[in-house]
């Protein structure tokens, strides 16, 4: 079991949990967090390099590093792991954000030890989810990632935190209720009559034994289940409240990584296992996600709280991820994965910066702030970079992702897809409106509050956190080919055949 490299993505956070439980002071806590998250980054970078080498050497299996260990034997439930390019990209993203999040919560108060314990427990769930290829373990890790949010927001949050924490937890768990039914349903149709039932994604897809009638029932279950976490309209309402109340590192992880669980799950479970229903029913969800994209962007325009602006912007961008996945062609799906990476890094950067600004000014209301460019130039410049990435400036990550998505979407020649693509394109313009509005108001313009003049710029740990994220955002923007090569294998082979894609 421990000879498989993937298992260490769960083992390292578990060791970190143990280390945190034994820590006595802030210094030890920070050491554990930093060493552990650096180890995770190192592991995922090594995995990336090794994966590319294996592929270059002509490895054609759908998933690599596959391992499977019996868990509940009579039911054929296994702890099965395996990754392809997409999961590796997600693992890399998660480890970077855990790393940046640890630095962003350098001075968390109160109860730092418990805070990190829950944060790392959350990352156990996230990493476990991305390495699993068994529906049961996948679902289990998914829920493990959700529940720490309640305490993280409830105890360390700000504002209307009790309400937000409860709303977020209940809505996400409501999604997972549908998901559980979907998974059990898939399990019972996973093999032809008389065959061994299985929870293994690859085997289910190979058996292709879910008949069309059941697909029509199970596809919406799983898609809505994951879609709730992907902030699909009308199930997105947890997102603004939750993000606004959460402490910095939690907003980063939640918007940066957890919302990707939704997109990844829709793609890996709903569409991968039930391609026929996906083809037929995609239009329903296209409408819903299209609404998310535009509605999220418009809502962001009228908000005055920095975190709310970003939360609605996340709704819009994550809606775009689901929107692109539902286009069911290679280009748009590649764009969707790029958008997941891009949005993950960019939003994490945004939330980190907002947390840092809030920590100094003690307000997140843009009407009460102004001229921060003069007061804290480093943070302000970073904010502008994040904003540019968000509105799709070439050279940063947002541009390549959105470009790919819209090119892919436009390949559909029918009226319905065209109209919705054009509508979704409009969101770019609206994004520019709210980003520039914030940048203009917050960073330039007159200083609103004389007390703000005494504030200091970023500390070293804050700089480290933000620079890490900016480098990654720029890397995707400058070398998009590297990332599209990483993920294209999945689309070029089995997946394409499955969907009958071009």
């Amino acid at each position: 079991m421990f000879s498989n490299v993937l298992i260490y993505f769960v083992v390292i956070p578990l060791i970190m949990l143990l280390g945190l439980a034994l820590s006595r002071n802030m210094k030890q806590i920070r050491t554990v967090a930093v060493v552990g998250s650096s180890a995770l980054i190192a592991l995922s970078v090594w995995l990336l390099v090794d994966y590319l080498q294996l592929r270059a050497a002509g490895e054609t299996a759908e998933m690599l590093y596959v391992g499977s260990w019996a868990w509940f034997k009579p039911l054929n439930i296994n702890l099965a792991v395996g990754v392809d390019g997409i999961s590796i990209a997600m693992l890399l993203l998660s480890s970077i954000i855990v790393f940046a999040g640890s630095f962003a919560s350098w001075k968390i108060e109160p109860l730092p030890r418990q805070f990190f314990l829950w944060l790392i427990l959350l990352s156990v769930g996230v990493f476990g989810f991305f390495i699993s290829i068994d529906l049961f373990t996948m679902f289990m890790f998914y829920e493990v990632a959700l529940i720490p949010m309640y305490l993280l927001i409830g105890v360390w949050g700000s504002g209307n935190k009790e309400y937000s924490a409860m709303k977020l937890t209940l809505m996400l768990m409501g999604g997972s209720a549908f998901l559980m039914l979907g998974i059990i349903g898939i399990y019972y149709h996973s093999a032809p009559e008389g065959g061994q039932l299985t929870m293994n994604l690859l085997e289910i897809s190979r058996n292709a034994s879910i008949d069309k009638g059941w697909q029509y029932f199970l596809f919406p279950m799983t898609f809505v289940g994951f879609g709730v976490l992907g902030a699909m309209f009308p199930f997105h309402t947890w997102s603004p409240d939750g993000h606004a109340s959460a402490p910095t590192a939690v907003s980063m992880l939640h918007a940066g990584v957890l919302m990707k669980l939704g997109g990844y799950g829709c793609f890996r479970v709903a569409i991968y296992l039930m391609p026929e229903a996906a083809n037929d029913l995609a239009w329903i969800f296209l409408i819903l996600t299209g609404i998310s994209v535009v509605y999220g962007a418009f809502s962001a325009c009228v908000q005055t709280d920095l975190k709310y602006i970003n939360a609605y912007s996340s709704v819009s961008h994550c809606g775009l991820v689901l929107f692109a996945i539902l286009m069911l062609n290679t280009t748009a799906m590649t764009g969707a994965i790029m958008q997941m990476l891009s949005h993950g890094l960019m939003t994490a950067l945004f939330f980190a910066l907002i947390g840092m600004i809030y920590g100094r000014t003690h307000t997140r209301d843009i009407r009460q702030m102004g001229g921060l460019m003069k007061i804290m130039p480093f943070l302000a410049v970073c904010y502008v970079i994040a904003g540019m990435a968000s509105l799709g400036l070439p050279g940063l990550s947002g541009f390549v992702a959105e470009m790919t998505i819209f090119v892919g979407s436009f390949q559909h020649t029918d009226m319905f897809h065209r109209v919705f693509t054009i509508v979704a394109c409009c969101s770019i313009v609206i994004t520019a409106v709210y980003i520039l509005r914030v940048v203009g108001k917050l960073l330039f313009g007159p200083v609103q509050d004389e007390h703000h003049r005494t504030l200091t710029d970023a500390t070293w740990w804050e700089r480290l956190s933000t620079i890490t994220l900016i480098i990654c955002v720029a890397a995707i923007g400058c070398f998009p080919n590297f990332f599209s090569d990483l993920i294209k294998f999945t689309f070029n082979t089995s997946f394409a055949q499955l969907l009958g894609m071009n």
């Binding site: 509940f72 305490l151 409860m166 409501g174 209720a177 549908f178 559980m180 059990i184 349903g185 019972y188």
Partner: protein
């Protein structure tokens, strides 16, 4: 008479020996060495529990008294699960039983408890309704005395009166149903009734009889609409008795219910009781949840939560297959640990401060971090959150039910699943009180008694271990596949 048939009753006889030893110790030991009674009972029962899990020596008979009593490894397993639960209850009750008020009467507490357990054994193993009724009565009536154990509390008396009246009334209904069954089939043997029921046309009489039987057992399980006694009794009874009532008594009744419905009325599953159970499950889960939402007393709160949990347990009966049976037993096992952990914390705080309101738990994590941690695990497990055992038991009971395959069962499970979200809300309310509410702690820091801590540690180990370690469920599934009723 062939005395070797008594060998089949290994566990019943063992329990009887434990009972007699406790009784003799209580009666004849001089007053000054009475201090050891609790420890004596706990150790004796622990030995008995371990012994109960050991395989039978040589070839044991599997039935006695001309087939009125049967035993099989599955029944041994469910009895073993109940034993573990009773052991935890005994450990947790230690402090209360040795308190100043109860110390003179704790002998009776132990004896009554063992007698009711004996009754539950008979309910599980009976294959003749006469024996079953004896078991049912032995399991119900002494409980009323236990509920009234807090002699100085008015609520305790009121609870006991409510309990005994409903118990007797429901027994009457049950036996009314039995008389109909006897009139229809001319026998009280499960097997004979089953064969007659399978042959004959479904008559209105049978439907009425079945409804009466379901109502009678439904009372023990506190299924809605037979649940009205539950909240008051749970609140009024001493907490040790409440935990016994909510876990052990419910577990035994659930298994007995499964046996009766599948063994006796299995032939009319889709004709009559499938739909009856659907309605009962939906009602029980939903009503239990909705009432639990607004409770402010922890014991009342857990009463309604246990009503809705009973609804989930019933899904194992609805499944009507080997996996449903295994999942039902596993659910009971997990429920024993989760619910007793919650009751353990409530009891520890009640013994120390006398407080049982949910508001008294505000800020508990500042003064008693371990108690609040245990409580949180219990709540997460009851709500079915991984990686705790409750998640696995819920997942398996749903999976077992869905094996049926009809669309109706998918809808039923979906309703149950949506209800888990409602239940998550109120379980989180407790977590919120302990960890999030800003009020100053009501309960001061204290160190709970040794016995209470041991009880809670066992429960915490169970909550964490029972799910992740797969062998428990695998074993139950294997047993019910090989020796089950299907």
């Amino acid at each position: 008479m062939d005395y070797s048939q008594f060998l089949a009753m290994k566990q019943e006889i063992g329990l009887l020996v434990v009972f007699l030893l406790v009784f003799l110790y209580d009666t004849f030991m001089p007053r000054r060495s009475q201090g050891g009674l609790s420890v004596f009972t706990i150790i004796l029962f622990a030995v008995f529990t371990v012994w109960g899990f050991m395989p039978c020596m040589g070839s044991c008979a599997d039935s006695a008294f001309a087939g009125m009593y049967v035993t099989s490894p599955v029944m041994m397993a469910i009895k073993g699960i109940l034993n573990v639960g009773v052991l935890i209850v005994l450990i947790q009750a230690n402090k209360w039983a040795n308190s100043e008020i109860q110390i003179m009467r704790r002998g009776e507490f132990y004896e009554l408890l063992l007698v009711t357990l004996f009754g539950m054994y008979l309910m599980i193993s009976a294959r003749h309704f006469l024996l079953f009724v004896i078991g049912l009565e032995a399991a119900s009536l002494p409980l009323a005395a236990m509920v009234a154990f807090d002699k100085n509390h008015y609520e305790s008396h009121e609870a006991a009166v409510k309990y005994i009246l409903t118990a007797v009334f429901s027994s009457a209904i049950f036996m009314m149903g039995l008389s109909f069954v006897y009139g229809l089939t001319g026998s009280l043997y499960f097997s004979t009734i089953a064969s007659v029921v399978a042959l004959e046309e479904t008559s209105a009489m049978l439907i009425v009889a079945l409804a009466f039987v379901v109502a009678g057992v439904g009372f023990k399980l506190s299924l809605v609409p037979f649940h009205l006694w539950t909240a008051d009794v749970y609140q009024g009874a001493p907490t040790s008795v409440t935990s016994y009532l909510s876990v052990i008594s419910k577990g035994a009744a659930a298994f007995a219910f499964l046996v009766i419905l599948t063994q006796v009325f299995g032939a009319v599953y889709s004709d009559i009781w499938e739909w009856m159970l659907y309605a009962l499950v939906i009602l029980t889960i939903t009503v239990g949840n909705l009432f639990a939402l607004r409770q402010t007393n922890m014991k009342r709160f857990l009463a309604f939560s246990s009503i809705s949990q009973a609804g989930y347990i019933m899904l194992g009966v609805v499944a009507c297959n080997a996996m449903g049976m295994a999942s039902l037993m596993y659910y009971i096992l997990v429920y024993v640990f989760s619910n007793l952990a919650a009751f353990g914390v409530i009891q520890a705080i009640e013994n120390k401060t006398g407080k049982v309101g949910m508001a008294d738990y505000n800020g508990l994590h500042k003064t008693n971090p371990w108690l609040s941690f245990t409580m949180m695990l219990a709540m997460f497990s009851l709500a079915g959150i991984p990686p705790f055992a409750g998640f696995f038991s819920k997942f398996f009971i749903f999976t077992g039910a869905i094996a049926q395959g009809s669309i109706a069962i998918y809808v039923l499970v979906l309703i149950a699943l949506i209800n888990t979200i409602v239940s998550l809300f109120y379980y989180l309310l407790v977590v919120k009180a302990m960890y999030i509410n800003p009020e100053q702690p009501v309960v001061g820091a204290f160190r709970s008694a040794c016995s209470e801590r041991i009880g809670m540690w066992i429960c915490v180990a169970g909550i964490i271990g029972l799910g992740i370690v797969s062998c428990f469920y695998d074993h139950l599934l294997e047993l019910s596949g090989t020796f089950g009723l299907f």
